[in-house]
Amino acid sequence: MNVEDYMDKTITLGTVSDANYMSEQELAEEQELIVRAKRDARAFGEVYNRYFERIFNFILRRTDDEAISDDLTSQTFLKAMQSLKKYEYRGVPFSAWLYRIAHNEVNKFYNKQKRKKVFSLEQEQLFEFIQPEEEAVFDEEKLAELMEVLKELPTEAVEVLELRFFEEKNFKEISYILNIGESGAKMRLYRAIDKLKERFKIKYND
């Protein structure tokens, strides 16, 4: 399929919801919990229960294997427990710190295994952000084409796309998780969208 064929299709990237964004009060409450967890390892249980699902889902999306996700999630929380005393508030939620550890653990896993990175995207969630304009639902063919386009994008760009649209993180958090500058994170995302635009018509409201 050539570029002209892709140009016929229109995709709308919807706005990212603010569901995951925390208010100042919520951030302060979370910091109180972290201070307690620093003093008492048992208080870390609350942190574990609060973030386990999100971290597990994040790792599962990066590995597409439940057993590996289980191991890496456990490893992420162990690392967090071990270095909790070194944790400092940097203006982003505590979850960003956990995501950063999880991201590093996943990278370590791929480097060790010398495997190709995997992004396993949930169809349901994908449809929340990418919709064909002309038709109500994506058909299999168009979906396969989209997968092909995403495959051709640089891995770093897919990482930002995934954090922005699937984890609903803001650029400050993304830059913290990936250990890059905020402008760098924006550049990666916009480049990815531009590349998608070469083949699809995209409306991106951010």
Binding site: A41, G45, Y48, N49, F52, E53, F56, N57, L60, D64, E66, S69, D70, T73, S74, F77, L78, M81, Q82, K116, K117, V118, F119, S120, L121, E122, Q123, E124, Q125, L126, L143, M147, L150, K151, E152, P154, T155, V158
Partner: protein, 97 residues
């Protein structure tokens, strides 16, 4: 061939299923054993460095002692009065060369 693979999951993993993977007790166990391992490692490292510093101290003090002793002997030998006088004044054969 790309550097990554994109896969599509038909169904999102349910919270209930993820809940099944939660095991805080085992995490705490791992944390405790890793703390113990780190403590043992730290003790071994401390012992190793203490032994190394003690060994280095004794080795250096021995070398220093040797270095201090050698010039002292020479100095004593040279400064002993009258040792060279016999040679300088050639008192062995009453000044005959």
């Amino acid at each position: 061939m790309g550097r990554h693979d994109i896969r599509l999951r038909r169904q999102r993993m349910t919270s209930r299923r993820i809940e099944g993977y939660k095991d805080y007790a085992s995490l705490m166990e791992r944390h405790k054993s890793s703390r113990l391992k780190r403590l043992i490692k730290l003790i071994f490292l401390l012992l190793f460095f203490t032994a190394l510093s003690v060994f280095a101290y004794y080795a250096l003090s021995k070398i220093e002692k040797q270095n201090n002793n050698e010039p002292e002997k020479q100095a004593q030998a040279l400064s002993r009065p009258g040792v060279f006088n016999e040679e300088l004044l050639n008192t062995y054969n009453y000044g005959k060369t």
